[in-house]
Symmetry: C2
Subunit: 216 residues, 2 copies
């Protein structure tokens, strides 16, 4: 495995910003987009349950509807590729069964050999349900995928804009997500910044290291 | 800005796995660790509020206590660098005031010019508090940082293991986080896999693309 130089990483993460205005004429090349999709496929999640769907919205009319549900913000329309990050709602034992069946198949194991693991995961799911944090737990996993995607995009020279400013119920309705058992959490438009996006030139605001790190 | 080849990204993300056994003799070089810390500093968050603390735990005795709070798992002890990702609890108008003051200073703006922005953010914070999802909202931001960190580490050839399997109340107590207004969410040990970590060789389990992507 070839590592990248540290400077390449920090430069890319400095270059990244929440792009307010995408250039609608610039499209992400197919090979680059395929790699970004792979970053989502390969994102880690608790137990590997992948409690998510990534909706890739190409249809212009659907993008306009999502823009309207995002109070008229234009990134969902002007970006090259629009991903709606959705989280599993009300996960249950069937999700775990599906995961165990898939794990056994990928690893060439008898399913029975994973029974203890299945019980452990089901226990975690039921504890989360009884504790009232099942959907919260799964929503956090989606944000891991978001972080992986944003960092990956920056390293590939692709601009993004994580967006929470939208009406989730409307986006769920537009995309038919509720019926599938998922709920929209965050939008991840990707593409290329417009030459006149004034936000690109602003000084990056971050607290100094001593404010965010605690040594123990 | 120099982009990396798509293959470099996908290889690194394939190489990454949740390391169960770290080699305690291998330490992350200072320059590499500094870049990983930068990935945390530069991680995006809603409005840029950075509702987090990253606790870097070096003290061996403290690491042992955290291992005990994680049901005896050894990664917190054996890793090179241990980060405890903590989220802001019960954020209020003072957090927003601090953020606006800092933004004005960094961008050389009169603070008054950001009054509308400040009101918008305060409105979001108060809506989240009344809606009962304030801490959830902030916890999700921490998982963006986690995702950026895990991807960054992989690209730098550093192993990690995101861990939610611990007693948060105990870790909060060990690190004195509650008094600071933060709560531990996830552990992020980093270092290098032991030569005999059997998990390194297992086939990666991921649902096929058609299971996680929806085209719309």
């Amino acid at each position: 495995m070839t590592s990248i130089p540290t400077q390449t990483l920090t430069e890319a993460l400095h270059w990244r910003y929440a792009t307010k205005k995408f250039d609608p004429t610039k499209k992400i090349p197919a090979e680059t987009w395929a790699a970004l999709q792979q970053s989502l496929v390969l994102a880690p999640s608790s137990y590997g349950l992948e409690p998510w769907k990534f909706v890739i919205v190409d249809d212009p009319a659907t993008r306009e509807k999502i823009s309207a549900a995002a109070y008229g913000q234009r990134q969902p329309v002007d970006c090259s590729h629009l991903v709606v990050f959705a989280g599993r709602k009300n996960m249950d034992a069937k999700d775990v069964e599906k995961f165990i069946t898939h794990t056994a198949a990928v690893r060439g194991l008898p399913k029975d050999s994973l029974k203890g693991y299945q019980d452990t995961i089901e226990g975690s799911v039921e504890r989360a349900r009884k504790g009232g944090y099942l959907d919260v737990w799964n929503s956090r996993q989606v944000y891991i995928a978001l972080g992986v995607y944003l960092a990956s995009a920056a390293l590939l020279g692709v601009d993004t804009c994580p967006m929470e400013g939208f009406d989730p119920a409307k986006v769920d309705e537009i995309l038919g997500l509720s019926a599938k058992g998922y709920g929209a959490l965050v939008l991840g438009p990707a593409g290329y910044r417009a030459a006149d996006d004034k936000y690109a030139g602003l000084a990056k605001v971050r607290y100094p290291a001593q404010d965010v790190f605690i040594q123990a």
